[in-house]
Subunit: 302 residues, 2 copies
């Protein structure tokens, strides 16, 4: 069963490590050292792919490959996410045990139970508190679990998919129609996380804004075109914590230049925590920031 083999393209696809990296690691560190097929091409085993994925995960937490590849299996102890430079921006939340119960439903692969539990929480908390006190902290917990290897990839996918559904359903139930301000919600290419966008969409819609959801990964030129076509008041972008911090200022600057000055540009999400302030761009570091910035807008546009 575990006899499946992977060629180098398949490994790139499944691990996110480029062919160049795979070859140069082999040359430098002697790992992974795949078999060769009749034509001399690399053939990786499923075990090697697994190990590569583990290494990749630890690298995303700030470890460096040279050390990881040498380590035999005590990497499991290297669990300590050494991303200390920006430690723990979110508190573990107040009703931790209830959130853990929700997560356990995911770990037990009980899709129906999870959905039901989430819907009960909406009914109990109302949408705004649900977003802020349930969705945000549980998403943070999933992120932590991912970093420490305590959740399977497919469990994380199931969590995301089900949570998206619950949020979208609640948003659909809100009154729509032409309202103000009109806000374009999207993300830049390479940024495909959508939960943050949905959370903020729910909050904005609750405050009476008209949200235009364009999904993720919009080229900058297209964002500008969409904003003009929809006569938007605000363009709001989301950057997840996984998005590389370095290119963000340049991206925002470039987009700022493409938009008319009268149009506001807001950027939020865990990814902009490290982004320096800049003229013409509003940085929303928390969901509370988002709500209060929208309130400010209303005050300035009576």
């Amino acid at each position: 069963m575990n006899t499946a083999n992977f060629n180098i393209a398949a490994v790139e696809r499944d691990t996110g490590l480029s062919k160049d990296v795979l070859r140069v690691w082999e040359r430098r560190y002697g790992f992974p050292l795949p078999e060769r097929d009749a034509c001399g091409e690399r053939v990786y085993s499923a075990d090697q792919v697994d190990r590569l994925r583990l290494i990749k995960r630890l690298m995303d937490q700030g470890h460096r490959p040279g050390k990881l590849i040498a380590a035999p299996l005590e990497e499991l102890n290297a669990l300590a996410p050494r991303r200390n430079r920006l430690a723990e921006v979110l508190p573990p939340a107040n009703d931790a045990s209830e959130l853990e119960e929700l997560l356990d439903l995911i770990r037990q692969h009980d899709a129906g139970g999870y959905t039901q539990a989430m819907q009960q929480r909406i009914a109990r908390q109302g949408l705004q508190r649900f977003v802020q006190d349930t969705v945000a902290p549980i998403t943070w917990r999933v992120g932590q679990a991912w970093e420490s290897g305590n959740i399977e990839v497919f469990e994380e996918h199931l969590f995301t998919e089900l949570t998206k559904r619950v949020l979208r359903q609640s948003i659909a139930a809100l009154p729509g129609g032409k309202r103000r301000p009109r806000i374009i919600l999207t993300s830049v290419p390479e940024e495909q996380h959508v939960l943050g966008l949905l959370m903020v969409e729910a909050l904005f819609a609750l405050e009476g804004a008209e949200c235009i959801p364009l999904g993720t990964q919009m080229p900058l030129l297209e964002i500008a075109r969409a904003a003009a076509a929809h006569q938007a008041d605000i363009v709001a972008l989301s950057f997840s914590v996984a998005f590389p911090a370095r290119p963000i200022p340049g991206l925002l600057q470039q987009l700022r230049g493409l938009l008319p000055a009268s149009m506001a540009l807001w950027a939020g999400g865990a990814g902009v925590q490290r982004t320096p302030a800049m003229a013409g761009v509003e940085l929303l570091h928390t969901l509370d920031d988002a709500v209060s910035t929208l309130a400010d807008w209303h005050r300035q546009h009576p």
Copy 2:
């Protein structure tokens, strides 16, 4: 403004042409022939990237690069999608004008009007006919418009986002709970189109199956793990028409090897139209195929 420059990685990202392809085209055809920076690395102009994107679009329609690269600009006339080998699998639908009206709402950027019109159609047609007679043909039309350059990228994004919402909402309204068969729904890495998955999820759920939606882009090993963890009866994959046809057989073969023999593997979507039949994999060429294959399953598992 058009002074923006691209390195080879950016071109790969924006065009979908691999670095290897870009280099080998330069070697063989002399196009694209990028400038070089101080370090001798390729620097592509925005014009070249535009032209590459056009070429890629035409290639996806069945043209071959050798011819396209030579042609000066009469490619615009080569618009004729010569995908005749499997021509027009979907009819333009019976109530063409109504569908065009829906599309016009998107073109007018009337998000609310589109959503409302779609919901009316669900109420009138019922979910099954809505999926088959509205969502499928309108998606096909959007694809056509995209191929002929008659729709903006951001309009296509808006269409996708709104249609996803309507479908998800309808699916959520269906009865859930433990039912048979249990079907994992997902797509392979690099395949991020989700509409096909949602359509088939709606149809399967209507027929009493328990669908486990895992979103898109699951590594093959994770699909196998998820299937085992959820004790799935069937793993269903979706391949959009945009997915490169060549790697599909290998992917299916590989996944087939990772799954226990008792577990069915179904692959559907416009992307598998050109895929040859293979043992152990059920190819669902149309939505009708999907429904009838599920009916067959029920007959064989009383």
